[in-house]
Amino acid sequence: MNQPLIDLVNISKSFDGELILDDLNLSVKENSFVTLLGPSGCGKTTTLRIIGGFVSPDQGRVIFGGEDITRMPPNKRQLNTVFQKYALFTHMNIAENIAFGLKIKGKSKDYIRDKIKYALKLVNLDGFENRSVDSLSGGQQQRIAIARAIVNEPRLLLLDEPLGALDLKLRQDMQYELIRLKNELGITFIYVTHDQEEALTMSDTIVVMNQGYIQQMGTPEQIYNEPENAFVADFIGESNIVDGIMLRDELVEIFGARFACVDKGFGQRTPVDVVIRPEDIDLVKPDDGTLTGVVTHLIFKGVHYEMEVTTDGGFEWLVHSTDMFPVGQEVGIHVDPFDIQIMNKPASEDEEAVGVNE
């Protein structure tokens, strides 16, 4: 069950001399829900298209179920894709769209009819067989696109930002639908998105990509709580990323103040990046805090208040709290040791976290 279904080995690809993927390695286990997450231009869609067979890599191999499929055309691969803009065939009705792949495979009429019925039921669109594509809403079209892919019983389903064109409410509904589908069908999903919330909600594994590199791969919790570098920290949720000096194991100095933490093995007096999530900062009385500052900004967000606290040295901390402190009030900043995430400074230019585009 947990064998690797697909392996990307040393994949490189450039378009017009621009390097999109650089020596990428990725292994996806059978029956997992893997999300490729990153800003646009990070190479996530290219990776998906290489797996789908629409783009062939300049270097490297694609191994699918132990077989090298690098040069295999898309129509021979045992996987299906749900495209960003659905790519339904508008000159066919819904049943014909869904039957397309099965007809090519030469399945019997009865089999196809049953499959269509089953697939429509699965995506909650029973009785839509004879409707035209144009008469469907965006969400319904997306379900049909999924139905059209899954009737072929692929071992792997590729989804290229399938919810990108839907509005927020529909998107959230579809996220749950996709999780349910994945559990019912037991097939492997590789999902591409630039929406970190979507990635966190649905995935078993998130692969954060930037500039053709995999920045971090792990469970949603790992990615969120223990980002490995400033890019990941910044891209996933909101973060305070500050320069710090690891004095010794379990002690870091930030803006001259010493914070206890749980990280070890960075050596002594090592410059590091320190990540602290806004909701992990406790605002206390000035005397109780490790650092002191003044509230300079306050917004009510519903669930919590969002505040900016400016400390000595001019750094503005982003703080989420259910307690409200008015602008101008002096406060102390306290962080629990396990809420402090220590990261190595980027080793090379390429891994440098650059501005996030989206």
């Binding site: 129509n75 790519a87 065939f89």
Partner: protein
Amino acid sequence: MIQTSYAKLKRFFENFYLICVLIFLYAPIAVMMVLSFNSSKSRSQWGGFTLKWYRQMFDSAPIMEALYNTLLIAFLSALIATVLGTAAAIGINSMKKLPRTVFMGVNNIPMLNSDIVTGISLMLMFIAFGISLGFRTILLAHITFNVPYVMLSVLPKLRQTSKYTYEAAMDLGAGPVSAFFKVVFPDILPGVLSGFLMAFTMSLDDFIITHFTRGAGINTLSTLIYSEVRRGIKPSMYALSTLIFVTVLALLLLTNFAPAENGKEPDVSAARARFKKGGYEKWLLTAVSFCIVAGVCYTSWRHLAAARSDELYVYNWGEYIDESVIELFEEETGIHVTYDLFETNEEMYPVIEAGAVLYDAVCPSDYMIQKMAENGLLSEINFNNIPNLDQIDPVYLERSQSFDPQNEYSVPYTWGTVGILYNTKRLAELGIPAPTGWKDLWDERYQGEILMQDSVRDAFMVALKTLGFSMNSTSTEELSAARDLLLAQKPLVQAYVVDQVRDKMLSGEAAVGVIYSGELLYLQEEAESLGLDFTLEYVIPEEGTNIWIDSWVIPYNARNKENAEKWINFLCRPDIARMNFEYITYATPNQGAFELLDEEYQNNHSVFPDVSELATSEVFQYLGTEADDYYSALWKEIKAH
């Protein structure tokens, strides 16, 4: 009250304007349709209702063959251009922006380019590469000019189509070809269909390019009609044009008013539905296409197979032979005749000169024979092979020496004079005696009653002869005097025309007209059958006139010279010459044939004048480029005055 009457008035003028526009657009077509049912050949006289032109049209082998060629070429060129153009559009569509823009520009140039440039360049290319002009070259030319139109109509559709649908089809297991035909093609089908239709109509419409790229023995409707212009377009052509118009109209009505299945975009959805269903229509379409392709292969094979030794390529004026003569010749000699038409000497000349088509026997007029001989385009005839030459009255051979001094290049075929046709009744009304010479055309009592020929040499001939000069004069003084005379006559002239002399005289619009004697028999018969209350008489002016002679010659590059000589000999046979005379009604120089004619014809002095009457007459000579230019300059002066 004022408001409503103002609105009514406004409405009236709106409708009135609309009707005017409609009349402007459709009156010409209506006139043509009415004339197609006119039992008289005249364009201005109603001779009663008839369907004979329609019968004649369907019975006429050349018309039916031209129709077949036209439709076949239109269909095939549109089909092939659609395939090529669609493929090219797909290629261009997947290009990057810059090369795409460049290619689109390159694609647009041929469409904006003038047809005549396209036609000539295609002809030159075919000749340069040794491709003999014929069906194939017309087809190639039409494909060439059709491809851009198809691309122009397919590209926008392709750009609207999501590229992902193609990938989706591949993803679902379809191979590249099947993905294209199952998914992309139905999406761009409306564009492909409209491209096909556009190409089809462009091909149907084309005259200029076809004219330059066609070869011997092949005509499309447009070139066939054009070749008939000289002797007047036959009413069966009106019938044909009417049928074509009605067919197009019916098609238009059908596509616009057919019950739409989905309401919007009826043709598109219907086409899609048909394609999708893949029902019998699809098979029918395939079967029809197959038949047509097979037909074309067969036709081209026949064209190729025909290229054997027993062949003869004839180039003649339109309507200038009794077609059964060709059949008789083929039967008797076993030689296959490819018969081709030209409309003017000037049109024929470059074809022979360029060697675009290698004709074996051609029938030009006097001065043109001289020009061709002087430029080395003619081959000496071996008269040993033309024993029937003794049937030709020596008078005409003597006359021919004017343009063929040694009688070595030409054998006379028809001849005639130019004279004055007059309306007896009209002259009586005006109180003028019948004209006897050209000088009468300067009689001021004829004010607004004179029709002159709208051609340089004919007009100057009248003036030069009136002044007692040679009509082949190149003296600037004589020509200036002739110009002044023509200018003096201009206020009296009703119109300078060519073909309309016949119609205007038949309808009694003018009292006198300068006309070729060849038209006489037809005019007189027509006047009789219409039951006109006046008669038309012809006089050869006493000052002398133009004797024109059309003769058979053999071009220098003829491939079947002996066959050409057999042909000329055959045409000199009295019984054959008689058949031709009765069909063409132009005077024959063939003494043997003359003797076989009815007395009525023999005694018609207008057609067969006494030789003595023609003592002062001449035959046109080729005067050289310089003189031609001088004549033209003077003629322009007169016309512009």
